[in-house]
Amino acid sequence: MNNVAIVGTGQTKFSKDDGDVEKLLFESTKNCIQSVENCESKDIEGVLVSTNNNSKYLGAILSETIGIQPKISHSIEHLCSSGTNALISGYAYISSGLADMVLVSGVESATNPGQVLDWDKSRGSFDHPIYWASMLTKSHKTKFQTTEEELAIVSAKNHKQAMDNPLAYSNQPRTISEVMNSKQITDDLRILDCSRSCSGSASILLASEEKAKKISDQPIWIKGIGQKTTSASFTKNTLEEIESTRIAAKTAYEMAKVEPNDVDVAEVHDAFSVCELMAISELGITDNDKSGEFVRNLFNTENRMINPRGGLIGTGHPLGATGISQTIEITNQLQGKSEKRQISNLKTGLVHNMSAAGTSSSVMVLGN
């Protein structure tokens, strides 16, 4: 199996306004290709587009737009974790030897159709994600004595970290009390506990070891991958757990030959405040009943270890681009290119991306 590296990255700004997916895709792709000094576009053998948008044939459209004729081109949809699924597909094409270099581009428009899963009859008329998020939050409060303040800290921390991310949809600071007094959505959820659907695009160029060493002086290696789908319907899950994340993390750690305490920096899928607490527990970074305290400590010590770019809550959530944007943040952190939000002495980074109330998860371990 060939080793696979990230050799180029590019993004657009995230925005709550509607966006043109083809234009956004082109913009992040252009930024990605231009980030690699010796990249010949014609050497790209695969073009994968991750999106929930209903536009057809985007892999071929993007290829034609940048003037290339790749061997492989297609779209990938897996709700909120489309981005990491596309990256892992690109990884598989390269590690198997089917392609030498693959462009993975994620895109979404703010009015995407990916928030409601009609198929899941379990949700009844409560089909918007805010309802399962309310169930998860209420359950976390009851089972682990998580306080409203601890939940608010997740959002305050991620908004604060997003202030140093020029691509975030908003750079507005939010204090703990602002979060706690923001508009009440349900008894267990406030508007600032929610990530917002955005327009935006993010692209990564993946390459084989041989190619990476030729065109990049700072390749970042994908060292571990774990994925797990436990169901499609949300009510099969136990409310206090994200089993798919726990299993995916174990696989990724084993492949990378690292332990949870080796993780120096992580982007986790904070679709809602409670999701960050659950994710860092299932990833083994802390314990369930200590997750609130763990995040409070990060916030008080200005430690950006979790969600340095601002997470989904602070940066915005363009579904198909999110997993790729998370991976770009960890890549840039490991390369020492994160400017104002750079964390020092990094060796191992982690990306956690999930779909539909945690019924499916992807975890990637990256290293420099």
Partner: protein
């Protein structure tokens, strides 16, 4: 419209199950996920237990388990704050999406 949806419209919650495997199949499907044989239909007992709940504006909603293991989201009518584990009765309907409505017993 599927059979399940059409039955909801008539106020009936139909459960697909496999006679051979003795398993409920949820969400409803025409095929058993174990043996791939065609599933059969049976009517719900319309009684459930509250697993978790919250409130939006002045209305309670939550996750309820009906018929030994089927968990669905619906609105909950209760004169006082509901409790997890509380027994509820169920009414169903369908317009563009399913509606499951629960009422706390002995309110």
């Amino acid at each position: 419209m599927t059979f399940f949806e059409d039955q909801l419209k008539q106020g009936i919650f139909q459960i697909s199950y496999c006679e051979k495997c003795n398993e409920n199949i949820w969400p409803p499907k025409e095929i058993c996920h174990i043996c791939f044989n065609e599933s059969k239909w049976k009517k719900s007992e319309n009684i459930g237990k509250i697993i978790e709940f919250s409130k939006k504006d002045s209305d309670y909603f939550g996750l309820v388990e009906i018929d030994q293991g089927i968990r669905i989201m619906g609105d909950i009518s209760s004169l006082s704050t509901p409790k997890t584990g509380q027994i509820v009765t169920m009414k169903v309907s369908f317009d563009s999406k399913p509606h499951y409505s629960f009422t706390v017993k002995n309110n």
